[in-house]
Amino acid sequence: MYPRNLEHSDCFVIMGSNMAECHPVAFRWPMKAKMNGAKLIHVDPRFTRTSANCDIHAPIRAGSDIAFLGGLINYVINSERWNTDPFFREYVVNYTNAATIVSDDFKDTEDLEGVFSGLVQYTEKPEWPYNAFVGSYQPASWQYKSARAQGQGEQVAPTARSGEQAQAQGPNAAQSPGAGQGAQAPAPLNWDSVVRSLKKPPAQRDPTLQNPRCSFQITKRHFARYTPEVVEQITGCPQAKFLQVAETLLQNSGRDRTSAFAYAVAWTQHTYGVQMISCCALLQLLLGNIGRPGGGIMALRGHAAIQGSTDVPTLYHSIHGYMSHPTTLKKHDTLRDFITTETPSGGYYANLPKFMVSYLKSFYGAAATPENNWGYDWHPKIIGDHSHMAMMAAMEEGKVKGMICVGQNPATSLNGSSQRAAMRKLEWMVVKDNWMTETATQWYSAPEIKNGDVKVGDINTEVFFFPSTQIAEYDGSFTNTQRMLQWHFKAADAPGDCKTDTWFYYHLGKRLKQAYANSSAARDQGWKNTVWDYDREPGTSTEISDEPDELKILKEIAGFQTADPTKHLSGFGELKDDGSTTCASWIYCGCYPAPDRNLTARRTPDPPGAPGAHLNWGWAWPANRRVMYNRASADPQGRPWSERKRWIWWDGSAPNAPNAQTGAPTPAGKWIGYDVPDFALTKAPNAQPRPDGIGLDAMSGLDAFIMKPDGKGWLYVPSGLVDGPLPTHYEPVESPVQNLLYPKQQTSPVYKHWAKAKNYNQVAKVGDPNYPHVITTYRLTEHYLAGAMSRWLPWLAELMPELFIEMGRALADEKGIRNLDWVKIKTPRSEIRAKALVTDRIGVMNIGGKRVHHVGMPWHWGWEGLSRGDVVNDLTSWVGDPNVSIHEGKAFLCNVEKD
């Protein structure tokens, strides 16, 4: 799903997002859909600018999304339409794992009063005690039931994980052929046999969906108690509204209609955020809305290159292209260990050896040889959770000595006063930004310094500030929320001494290479062998002297033939595991297929009115596909589900070129359509898997979800998630009420709570009378994140000049607060001030019989800039999601008093 595709939607549900305010440009497309008659729905604790433009606004308490989504799932599964319209059954049986049988060992939350089978205690590792889980699952019992061998897990998701939890995280954790061989053998020049050796018997299936242990039946039972009544009690959403949403969604899904969802950080910033998204995926699979035009789930990511920053990546637990970062916590000792641990034998990700070897070649160049396993041993490994909060917790204990802060403003970030305290422990800190942000100035102007709690003289950090260019002051690329790379060109010279980030890192890297040049220590060989040459060609220069060549960087990411670097790669199909290709990021492979063809710089739209996906506008990974898994836009026979929803289909008579290597003729027939097919191009709908096949050869013509080892969309998630195979309603860590669904299990059993014992990160207890109100934090159109790009700019600062708290009239009346009065907001972590904005756009909710006031605050402010205000994030805590370490900033508790 991508924003423009929303114009094909018949119904669009925005949940966990304030799309109109935070993605106003992308919101163009839902408005086009609205013009075409689509129904727009917003499910949110606040009536926002998004709600204002939707047909239905369903208010829910922050953090209760899984209860709402679970209610929708239960409604759909038991609806007449879903059970009588053959489309749904056809889609679900063929394209999802509904029919797959799950291990007999698996126990659901319904069996265990709120937890899944496999829950164990978690013990921190002494070398890095910042993984912060409150509990941990052994997921062995969650696996599919194999056709031949029982209890043995099938292949597992290829998603990148840090491995902080159970050892069974890799797809092949239990067995690692070739692992632990003692002396390391040279890497093979073809890894196929290694991958083939990982092959396991297929899982059992019941296409009738009657087997009580099939994914579908387990799912159905799991959500049976999410009735409209329960939804109302947990979420506070009136039943009538919920039913209106459910019916609208159901009526607009099917053979001839598609519905889409969008979410953003209001789904991710929870202790069960990944499960919210997973829950939505489950619902959309049941409704047959995945892989189809106007269907799917739109992950709204930040402007303009948050997607790019994780692709490239800045995620601590991934290397390029979402490959797992080598870690000491999994069997990653050697390249072979890494490959056997991480590679599934089925699905496109079976090509991981090609991606990995090409990646290592990009890292170490000619120094990477089969003999040294392409330099794998030089590659750094992680030792635990190195996400933001974990690093801050470590910093607070003096374990992290230095920090380079770019594109971030941690002084105003989660539990901000604690982050400032942590930064005061640093020996050195570099801030590179457009302005003197709060992070740059916290050592002399933070609130705790102004009020005398901390003396500047007691801080021993050496602080460096580097002025930074802005986006229009250099060439480069964005990768936006639709995974689309768009080259941008410099529009203006940067003022003064401002430098680009590429300049900064390039020259830092050069100096570090110099520093290690004469070292013979084993640990420094990586630095010595790292390829680090992006100098501009003589004769080309920019206003910033010594600026590296952006296109050389893009070329390294996008790939080239090792033997002839002028021969760029045209796609990841060309990647080899013998070192003959060099490519940092397999997913970006092909965006720069020739020295004079930078596809990301394309700006050619489709002609008006012509159906299409604007394939000549920029370049979207993977392979310029716009809708992922789009094989599912055709029925099992390869025909479009309906004329109206035509996208990709099978043309059985299309001739094919003979096999390039063997010259053998290829049978006629191929997938064609408006988009780049996300499927083996010439694999017929009725094709069967090759018995000894790996990768796509192991998949049938129905296996639309080619990145999944079994080719199916997962209702039930047998692996890849650390907090359970099915989404379950838990309360946020701070909640005003008991978990009405599972009274014995209040929160996720495995969430993360950093610095739990520390005074600065305490949380309110359930229903704490000192903190009775639910608070959520959010962004406004007028400002950007922590404000460095907006609070200093008069034209933006004037539009939202001061911090405020939005509260309902009932609460304002109770507390004697009038509009624009100053208000104190308090949590166990901190207390701040803001002006009151009294409104009916937020208000009181009835949660299981309890009257709960809901308030909300935008979090853009800090003490610097033109528009200043207290740091809202000082209120939040370091608790987070167990899969991705994102904090719970969207739902917690507070008290509000008139100042």
Partner: protein
């Protein structure tokens, strides 16, 4: 004259992002209010509050709620209406305000002397002083951009096409279709504001699609030209002058008794 150009603002797809305001200030290099540091207005999400000499676009936010979560939030990007019969042109004593070849209304800043008649004459409260130039200013419909074939900055920046720019005739047809669509969807109060060339002030070259009465959006229901009062007020003055003149004649005229008294006294007047 070239084809009449203007805006059609469909308020039903306005998301209140204020991109139009920023694009306008950016293109026209207009200063932020109070150096970018005004106080929070408390009027919903509207901190712009009104159009002015330095704010030529203003997004209004109207909260219509009966109870928590139960209501609607209207948004509307307001701008100069570029009236076909423009009150500001009518009252401008210096000729600074002109009608362009695009049938838009532009204040020539080098002619205006800051008398502010146009501010009082505008039926929509659009015009105000720009303290930097010392002249009255307002939206020019980006005359400079239009002159070279570009669309105005605000409509260019509008992500949802709430602000649409084009030939007025075409925009009117588009607006009519959208109106019919909304009405068929049960939006009974949907109405076009200023689209009728037979209507008040000859129609607006920047017209609107509203879903409530104009007053709700802070718009006059029957905008009028200032000159409507000229005849009546002038007539009142003339009548007043006549009555006063008559009274003056009666009270100030030389009376017979005075003549007598004067001739009796005979002395010259005091000087």
């Amino acid at each position: 004259m070239a084809e009449a150009m203007g805006f059609f603002t469909d308020t039903t797809v306005c998301i209140g992002c204020k991109a139009c305001e920023v694009a306008c200030k950016s293109w026209n290099q207009l200063p932020a209010r109070e150096g970018g540091q005004p106080e929070l207005s408390g009027i919903s999400y509207d901190n712009t509050v009104q159009l002015s000499g330095t704010t030529w676009r203003h997004v209004k936010f109207i909260e219509q709620f009966d109870s928590p979560y139960n209501g609607r939030w209207l948004m509307m990007s307001d701008v100069c209406k570029h009236c076909v019969q423009a009150g500001c042109i009518e009252v401008c004593p210096t000729g600074a305000i002109i009608r362009t070849e695009f049938d838009t209304v532009v204040i020539q800043s080098d002619v205006c002397n800051g008398c502010r008649a146009c501010i009082a004459g505008c039926p929509f409260g659009v015009i105000d002083m720009n303290p930097v130039s010392g002249t009255a200013q307002k939206c020019t419909l980006c005359y400079d951009r239009m002159s070279v074939g570009l669309e105005p900055a605000c409509s260019k920046a509008c992500p949802t096409d709430s602000i649409q720019f084009g030939p007025i005739d075409e925009l009117r047809q588009r607006a009519q279709r959208r109106l019919e669509q909304l009405q068929s969807q049960g939006e009974t109060k949907a109405q076009l504001y200023g689209a009728d060339p037979e209507g008040p002030v000859g129609g607006l070259n920047s017209f609107y699609l509203l879903v409530d009465e104009p007053e709700v959006y802070g718009l006059p229901s029957q905008p009028k030209l200032p000159s409507r009062n000229l005849a009546s007020s002038a007539a009142g003055s003339v009548v007043g002058a006549a009555v006063l003149g008559a009274v003056g004649l009666v009270t100030l005229r030389k009376r017979r008794s005075e003549e007598v008294a004067e001739s009796e006294r005979g002395g010259p007047p005091r000087a």
